[in-house]
């Protein structure tokens, strides 16, 4: 048998042989039990022309310790292992993740569990989803929240599609110029084949979105809180304007920690609230996995995509939880489903849930105020270092400064000194080539922020 791993009668000890549950003796017995002469016979249904008969040309296999060393070596070539100081946010936000959050999500009962379609053996996951849904509703001021979607970007796309379903008509979607450019791009990708026209609402001089007159052809208005530029929008005023129209009011967030302090989207009249929850309990992981979420009003829940956990009782009357309202979903409704989403970000949502519980009633606002103070200090330090503040409207933990020269070069020059001062915005908009988006949170100390200001001063003068 050419396909024996290694020589002799034992499974291969060099690589993944340790993950295989069958030994050579069992294989022989099982082949006999299925009345096959050789393993190849079981692959007879694959027609010869479709058969791959050679050996795949893959990299050589590695023992566990070799693999660990290889990956450590790759990891070492990324900035965090070089102690690089970064002030990057932009929807993948640097926050401290408490040890117990990571410990709990690594329990095999959560980490390795299947989607809880069989509720009796998935109560842990289901109850955690129910608690997650409850927390997000309270944070956003909404009635219903789903069990998560892929990320903030796809949550905006799904919200626009949901608004289109609710509107039952073709039309225009107005989006803020302060919407994360990647959220916009994913939304446009998702809507490629739909009858939706997109139109930007520019941000005003102070950085807040200017809400225009909303015509009857508009099906949805999308605002981000805080905006991509870190500006805290006046949601109440925006909601009042949008409320006079037929359009659905969609609020997206890429930094949900701000919602611990700002007027809730719910009390501002939002119809759909979506965004990213990575800030709670999840690392940055080079941009993924993240935790998208979608919340809506009770009246619209049957148009919400994604899984939902609901409360029920068991045969003895004991409280329990199940996945529910699944007639919205692809495995039941197929082509008429609200979305094609199946797998979501359950484990990341669990991490967010655990962290939100630990922060609790007062901690969320405490942490948010801490972020506001750190970013305000960073803003003032950069202005003192010669940068110009681009927007005057209130900010949370992120802001834009103009460094008076090509910001990408400033980033490159600072990076050589082991510091990444922010995101150079020219990558999204050439007109913003001199602007830098800077984020400061509880992970940055005053001394580090002083270092940032000194570095920016040094490379711009």
């Amino acid at each position: 048998m050419a396909s024996k791993p290694g020589a002799g009668a034992r499974n291969d000890v060099r690589g993944g042989g340790r993950y295989l549950s069958l030994g050579q003796a069992e294989r022989a017995e099982m082949l006999a039990a299925v009345k096959a002469e050789s393993i190849d016979e079981l692959f007879d249904p694959i027609p010869q022309a479709a058969r791959f008969s050679g050996d795949l040309e893959l990299q050589p296999q590695m023992a566990e310790q070799e693999l660990l060393a290889h990956l450590q070596e790759l990891s070492a070539r990324n900035a965090p292992e070089q102690r690089t100081l970064a002030f990057l946010g932009a929807g993948c936000n640097p926050h401290y993740v408490p040890a117990h959050v990571d410990a709990l999500i690594q329990r095999q009962e959560f980490l390795t569990a299947y989607t809880p379609y069989q509720a009796e053996v998935g109560q842990g996951t289901l109850q955690a989803i129910f608690e997650f849904q409850s927390l997000v509703c309270m944070l956003t001021g909404m009635d219903v929240c789903n069990a998560s979607v892929y990320d903030g970007a796809s949550s905006v796309a799904e919200a626009v599609l949901m608004a289109r379903r609710l509107a039952r008509r073709a039309g225009k979607v107005l989006y803020s110029g302060g919407l994360h450019p990647n959220y916009l791009e994913v939304t446009r990708t998702y809507a490629t084949y739909l009858d939706i026209e997109f139109e930007e609402m520019p941000v005003g001089e102070d950085g807040r979105t200017v809400i225009p007159d909303i015509g009857d052809d508009v099906i949805a208005v999308v605002l981000q809180q805080p905006s991509f530029f870190g500006v805290v929008e006046d949601l109440r005023a925006a909601g009042a304007r949008i409320g006079e129209s037929r359009a659905k009011f969609i609020v997206a967030t890429a930094e949900p920690l701000a919602l611990a302090l700002t007027t809730t989207p719910g009390e501002s009249g939002a119809d759909i609230v979506v965004g990213e929850l990575q800030s709670f309990g999840n690392g940055m992981n080079y941009g993924g996995p993240l935790v998208g979420f979608m919340a809506c009003r009770d009246r619209d829940k049957r148009n919400l995509p994604g899984r939902l956990a609901g409360e029920t009782v068991d045969a003895d009357g004991k409280r329990g939880f199940v996945l529910t309202l699944s007639t919205r979903e692809q495995h039941i409704r197929r082509a008429k489903a609200t979305s094609n989403i199946c797998t979501n970000e359950a484990l990341c949502a669990l991490a967010a849930c655990i962290h939100m519980c630990s922060l609790g009633r007062h901690g969320l606002a405490d942490l948010a105020r801490h972020n506001l103070a750190k970013a305000s200090y960073a803003r003032d330090a950069l202005v003192a270092a010669g940068a110009t503040l681009t927007y005057t409207a209130p900010m949370f933990n992120e802001f834009v400064v103009d460094v008076g020269t090509d910001a990408a070069l400033v980033v490159a020059a600072c990076a050589e000194r082991g510091l990444v001062p922010g995101v150079a915005l020219g990558r999204f908009d050439p007109k913003r080539a001199t602007q830098l988006l800077v984020c400061a949170t509880e992970v940055h100390s005053r001394a580090q922020i002083d270092e940032l200001a000194a570095a920016v001063r040094e490379v711009t003068t």
Partner: protein, 501 residues
């Protein structure tokens, strides 16, 4: 009752009725710590105006870290998991999740990397993605791989969007997507999402595509065929060459659903049997943990003619050996993820492939197929087997024999819990009424396969002799059967703070 002696689900003695975290709250407890604020405090009310600041987050719990750890540990014990045993879920490939993966995914350079770090500072991450793409290129026999989709369904969406963009770029207006009736629900949902009309193609009596019906359905309006191969009955499409010719001759492309890649690793490659797009579920074949429903990772492999349309950015290696992200892709369908996809899952999948190498991956396919055929042999006299032929990595039975005693596939599932096993996939594929779809994977020993088969045989006896014990199952789990109808009829989807009522 005849449950096996070691039933990890029968742990009633240890389990408590935990209640919701909100019900454990008590004023004044804290579960977090914050560093001393070393910069001037900023009052949000004076910074933003009172009107912009919210009140207290009513209802959030006040709990200590101890409360949080005990609460989530206790509720976790109401879950089953891979480390406890077999999850024979057809089409889900629930295999062992190596512990090393949790270590390497948390290496500081990976877990702490921000996606907007300059490329020069992300060389390790970019090289890993580049390496993983090359490995998947070889495994699938297709020239390119995009790692960006966050899960299989998003991979499907990406695939069909690329196909639509391809036709559109040629000025070719094609509106229909052919989908076999045994397909996953995500397939028609995806087609509809792209503004295309799903057209169902029937299966024949052998459980594979009805070639004549396919030939009749294919035409100048065919944008694509969405094909799962091996299919959801665990059967390889034996006339795959003809299928590919019919579609390609009509000018359509073939999207192949890779949910069942585990069966053919190193044995057959979608690029060699005609696929133009093929999605991979990293959380199935390459064992990134299922996490109770996610995160996944759904790379798509694609043919040369679809390369211009792949999602951006693309990892490229320059002549000097450095890696960078190329965003300048004018024909790209755009981005489908906020950044570059689920990178931490890519680390795990890459580690898994590198642990195995070519021969190891092929052994996975062989063991997975052997295990499924073994279970088929052990169970086929007692459970109706709609397709009695060599299967690939999964086998589909039906509840036909047990129905005669008033027992359904779902009852059998619930009863399996009393024997310490996670149930198989049930009522899917739709072409088999009362389907029980079983995929053991390669990470189950013969002892456990036998214990599982013995449990199903014992249940078959119970269906004849004492069906009530099956229809009222489960009996040993902490929660008895849960009322799904009630949950859907009057949905309670969140906890509401008492004061807010």
């Amino acid at each position: 009752m005849t449950e096996t002696k070691t039933n990890p689900m029968a742990r009633q003695g240890q389990l408590k009725d935990e209640g919701l975290i909100f019900e454990r709250s008590s004023d004044g407890r804290v579960g977090y710590s914050l560093p001393v604020l070393d910069v001037p405090e900023v009052d949000p009310v004076s910074a933003w105006g009172a009107d912009a600041v919210r009140g207290d987050i009513a209802g959030f719990p006040e709990v200590s870290e101890v409360d949080v750890v005990r609460h989530f540990t206790r509720i976790s014990q109401h879950n089953y998991g891979i480390d406890l045993g077999l999850h024979p879920l057809g089409s889900c490939t629930m295999k062992y999740n190596p512990k090393l993966h949790e270590v390497v995914a948390r290496l500081r350079g990976f877990a702490g990397a921000h996606p907007f770090l300059p490329d020069e500072q992300s060389q390790g991450a970019l090289e890993l993605m580049w390496n993983l793409e090359r490995e998947l290129v070889e495994i699938t026999g297709m020239p390119h791989v995009s790692l960006q989709p966050a899960a299989g369904a998003q991979g499907e969406l990406t695939g069909i969007m690329m196909i639509a963009a391809y036709h559109r770029s040629r000025g070719d207006n094609r509106t229909k997507v052919l989908i076999p009736d045994s397909a996953h629900g995500t397939n028609p949902a995806t087609a509809a999402f792209c503004g295309l009309e799903p057209v169902e193609v029937p299966s024949n009596e052998q459980g594979t595509i009805d070639i004549e019906a396919l030939r009749a359905a294919a035409g100048p309006d065919t944008a694509a065929l969405m094909l799962t191969n091996p299919n959801t009955l665990g059967l390889f499409e034996e006339r795959i060459d003809e299928i590919a010719s019919i579609i390609h001759d009509a000018g359509g492309l073939i999207y192949c659903d890779g949910a069942n890649l585990n069966a053919i690793l190193g044995k057959a490659r979608p690029g060699d049997f005609g696929a133009d797009v093929f999605h991979i579920n990293m959380h199935k074949t390459f064992t990134t943990p299922h996490g109770g429903g996610g995160p996944g990772c759904g790379p798509v492999a694609l043919a040369e003619h679809l390369e211009p349309f792949r999602p951006r950015p693309v990892v490229v290696r320059d002549a000097d050996g450095t890696f960078r992200l190329d965003h300048d892709r004018p024909q790209s369908i755009g981005k489908v993820h906020g950044f570059y996809g689920n990178f931490a899952m890519m680390v795990r999948g890459y580690a898994y492939i590198r642990a195995h190498g070519a021969l190891g991956l092929r052994q996975i396919a062989e063991d997975a197929v052997l295990a499924a055929n073994y279970l088929k042999e052990r169970l086929k006299n007692d459970y109706e087997l709609p397709q009695d032929r060599t299967c690939m990595h999964e086998v589909v039975f039906s509840d036909k024999k047990q129905k005669a005693h008033g027992v359904t596939a779902m009852d059998i599932c619930k009863r399996l819990m009393d024997f310490g096993f996670h149930p198989p996939t049930v009522y899917f594929p739709l072409v088999v009424p009362g389907a029980l779809m079983i995929e053991p994977t390669e990470t189950v020993s013969r002892q456990e396969l036998d214990e599982f088969a013995d449990a199903l045989l014992a249940i078959a006896r119970e269906c004849e002799q004492d069906p009530e014990v099956v229809t009222s199952a489960p009996h040993t789990t902490y929660h008895r059967r849960l009322d799904e109808t009630r949950a859907a009829r009057s949905p309670v989807l969140r906890w509401v703070p008492p004061s807010a009522d």
